[in-house]
Symmetry: C2
Subunit: 243 residues, 2 copies
């Protein structure tokens, strides 16, 4: 392929220097709402001490309104809209982008909001396995007329590490469980906060402030995880420099 147009990002190999723009990416955090992904970028910038008081963190996908994308240091933050088709279109172009930029050892985490079943609203759920609409742990995809069944286990080590991180934080209840309608892709995790308990109704009655504080929870957990990993990596490179 001569050029690769990443249409829904408004980016491409012929028009953008993808290795220069994205070569240092180690974490990709994705979530439904563009606004939430911008606010996560501001949050993580302060957490990893890379905030720039001059920067407004411009939307890298400003040439389109399909998705929004922000970057601070090694952390890329991308919105994915709602539903599997919307996130699938985004991931398709994201994985091509990471490939073209020669990125290595990238961890992808969805930080989102969701409904919950039998959980207190505000509970943070780290996904172990995802399920389809019939509550079976599978994802069926039709490729050239043939139905292909995909495994829906998420990275169990990563899920356990995130749960461990949450225990250290000790700020909110986190459970490890199964989530509906997520995608199966390697070295990836899903950390969601439940906004309501579907067994009790489907109306979002919580005040704006309460819902807002819930939405911060996955960000705090994943922010803590990223900080820990970057610190460990800095420690390692420090050690190897002194050896």
């Amino acid at each position: 392929m001569k050029d690769d147009v990443l249409y829904h990002f408004g980016l491409g190999t012929a028009t953008h220097n993808l290795p220069a723009m994205f070569g240092d990416v180690k974490f990709v955090c994705v979530g439904g709402s563009p606004w939430r992904m911008k606010s996560f970028t501001e949050y993580i910038a302060a957490e990893i001490r890379m905030e720039d008081p001059e920067s407004e963190y411009p939307n890298i996908c400003a040439g389109t309104d399909r998705y929004a994308m922000y970057k601070v240091g090694p952390v890329l933050s991308v919105s994915h809209g709602m539903g599997i088709p919307s996130i699938a279109i985004m991931l398709h172009e994201l994985i091509k982008l990471l490939h073209h930029a020669h990125c290595e050892d990238v961890t992808i985490v969805r930080i989102g909001t969701s409904g919950g079943i039998g959980l207190e609203p505000g509970t943070v759920v780290v996904t172990k396995k995802s399920m389809d609409a019939t509550f079976l742990p599978k994802f069926e995809q039709v490729i050239l007329g043939k139905t292909v069944e995909r495994n829906t286990d998420l990275d169990q080590c990563l899920a356990e590490e995130l749960l461990q991180c949450s225990k250290e934080l000790n700020q909110f209840e986190t459970v490890i469980g199964n989530t509906m309608c997520t995608l199966d892709f390697y070295e990836a995790a899903v950390v969601c906060v439940t906004l309501l308990d579907r067994l009790k109704g489907d109306q979002m009655n919580g005040s704006h402030e309460v819902l807002q504080s819930y939405q911060l929870r996955p960000q705090i957990l994943v922010g803590n995880y990223i900080k820990k990993l970057l610190k460990a990596k800095a420690g390692r490179s420090c050690n190897s420099a002194t050896v």
Copy 2:
């Protein structure tokens, strides 16, 4: 139900006077991109001579970034993102909104862009029947563990009327055909323009200007249809006033 919170619109029966805001709506035009729906509102305002040089057509859903919504006279314009789940969440709240606002005789038209199969890029397609990923004219939905099969025929009279409108315009090639991945709902139509022929590749290589001009085509066709209907209606009420 006491209050109904239309969460993804940032609207609700307790917080907004929905009959006052939306009671006069007769046409709802929906499309993937928020930017395109705003530009359609500006276009239709001029077409139906309701443009207001003072108005910037504010986003009615400004309290959320899930969807964008604009209104001029009887025409409501709403973005729906990408994929069936995203449009389904929007339509669920739209139909409740129209109900709460006591709207009657509303026509819903999706004006969109799509891939095409064996069609010249830029062809406008008026949907007769929609198909699933296996190219069968059905839409399966899982409701409380049971798979329910939905009919995917769209309103045939409305489709023919839109095709007739296009013939009168005589500006671009329009075909009546089947479209993948649309939803079945009453008194509704889908008018899409194909941006590429999937049989020849999946890269969006067209220049920005060419793709832009393609995207206008469904708007021009539906704009013409709305104008025609409003004129006929004005004629009828004029006649009944003189009798």
